[in-house]
Symmetry: D3
Subunit: 142 residues, 6 copies
């Protein structure tokens, strides 16, 4: 029943707070209001985003781990939390040419973590926008 060598998944949750305003330059003012409702308010608003990161891999025979959580924390801190936490998404270079919807925020985070973690480690990223809304990007859709 020694599980070394078989594949398992390790998931970890993080939190970040940020503000955003949903507004697309490709749309008229009316179309923006219709598409985004209250999220189009000119002064922006904010969320506590819950971030769930799932990595997969073989269980290491010596350490019994898929990945050390200290290493995952360092990558997520450097790539995501230091850049976006307590900031305004609209001002980040990643959102100069796309609206900072949570779909797009999720895709940006997926791209940053995939590159930093290396080939085949990142399984999915989930971003919880509110208690009742979440967005996901998965490996198989790349």
């Amino acid at each position: 029943m020694n599980a070394a060598g078989t594949r398992a998944y390790f998931g970890r949750r993080y939190w970040l707070s940020a503000s955003h305003r949903l507004h697309s330059d490709a749309l008229t003012g009316e179309a923006n209001a219709a598409a985004y409702g209250k999220c189009n308010h000119p002064h922006g608003h904010g969320h506590n985003y819950g971030l769930e990161v799932l990595v997969g891999g073989a269980v290491d025979g010596e350490t019994g781990m898929v990945m050390n959580l200290v290493d995952l924390d360092r990558v997520v801190d450097e790539q995501v939390l230091e850049r976006f936490d307590h900031g305004n998404l609209n001002l980040d270079p990643a959102f100069q040419h796309q609206v900072p919807t949570t779909e797009n925020f999720c895709r940006v985070i997926f791209g940053l973590l995939k590159n930093a973690l290396g080939e085949g480690r990142l399984e999915h990223v989930r971003v919880e926008e509110t208690e009742n809304n979440f967005f996901e990007c998965t490996k198989s859709e790349e």
Copy 2:
């Protein structure tokens, strides 16, 4: 890092309250009691069902969305909440020829939403029956 065109998932949670009684006409009284235990009590009982709906699709290049949540809410309201919330599942036409177990309730909801959302949008439906029990139907099992 513009994510437009790639696929992402949008999940949303709803709540509904309903009563049901588990009783199969195909089983004897004893077999009903054995299969359903307390859920076979003649007067019915109730649950707050948590409903999670996951839709998938390309991120729209203009709006940055997979699907507008206002549109999803309207579909779920019309197809599911107006029909089942604060009602008795046993009296609904969907349960005239099958027991209103949460497995079957989940399948009925999956079918209603799949039709209303159109080809390929609905990824999965999860129905939480209690804090510790849930049921799922997924696209790939259709």
Copy 3:
């Protein structure tokens, strides 16, 4: 820093499922609909009620406990769960002369547990009706 003899509180959560219909014989049909909305539907509906019981008392010097959880579980089972779980509140004698609102259900549970636990043990009872609604009765309001 030996805490024996000082007072502490022990809280425990239980779950029960039941159906109810809100309808007051003291009100007209219209007034019933106005007061209870969807909860007045004739066929009843149901909830998973979350029940939180808080007991207080001196920490026993030998066992280091306020109350053994096995004892509390037995009392709650006998007084509340066996009577109401998977049942229809409207059919219980406690609701022959009062509407089974969750306010009243909370009061009924408080009274049953207060008697069974003995003088001064029960601090409060909280009944969670949905994710976003709860009701409480407390010792000081007796």
Copy 4:
């Protein structure tokens, strides 16, 4: 066991999203940074605030309710959600002469709801700022 006339409590949870920047004109730039850390970032950030409102009162003998939830929802919508949801707290008149910390936001909400609900109804207001931080104002501290 008729509970009519005795006191009970009714609690209800709401959610709102807003952005704020913590900065006190009474403090130097350095003191602001020391007091508020990342919350002093010039571009603001945001939160999903969880709001819990607890009202107390006698259980009405006819309706079996402390307060109709439809009425509480209307008051909270008018006084709090329409004013602050999806907005920037720093721009609201309530925060022209005080920093929009969550302590102060909680106090402002308590004052608005107390006035609107009338004498003696509002027991406490809790504002959840993140999964791990919350703030409360209670009736007895008025």
Copy 5:
């Protein structure tokens, strides 16, 4: 809309408490400290593990169920809870030749339940180690 015969999933959550110490005989003392940090403390520490079990199968045409929860509870009790709950993982035979990381604990549980449930029933096992960490093993990785 009769769903009998189509496939659905049934998930159920369990809780167990156990202590473990992370220490690999294949590593030096320094390497153990580096790999496991506080989890390498000689006296062990503990967790409330949340266990989520997902089983899949056709919905039975008579009972409307994927699997009776009473049967699943019995299997999980016999295979997992009676063996590990309120115990010390390091002393269990399953961890004589591998470190009791939660990755390995998850694999052990997956293997035990897969055997007891029979071919093709077990879809995945998730073990929640803390509020923010979880581990999963899935059928497709077998």
Copy 6:
């Protein structure tokens, strides 16, 4: 509506993992087994304890805070987390003359934080032992 000077409460949640064995030298082996059940197992077991600390005080007119969360975190780290996290409660001096029940653990934490925070700041401490059990100590019971 400036709230400066009025009293408010600030609550914050922490997590720690520890193992304990419930065994009282004042009781026979049989009485220990009867009182503590599985918690009396000789090898100990563990929990993720959730710790909620509530402090009260006037809202500072300049900072708009009851207490800076950085200061509260430092006190809780120094007094509680560094001492008990990832340890064995039975080996701590605080539990040489009393059983490490969660009632007693809660009392010990209350005493440590009350001293460190200074007169009148600490309102209550809540320790969550499992999803369904919690213990509290409050200021008024001192």
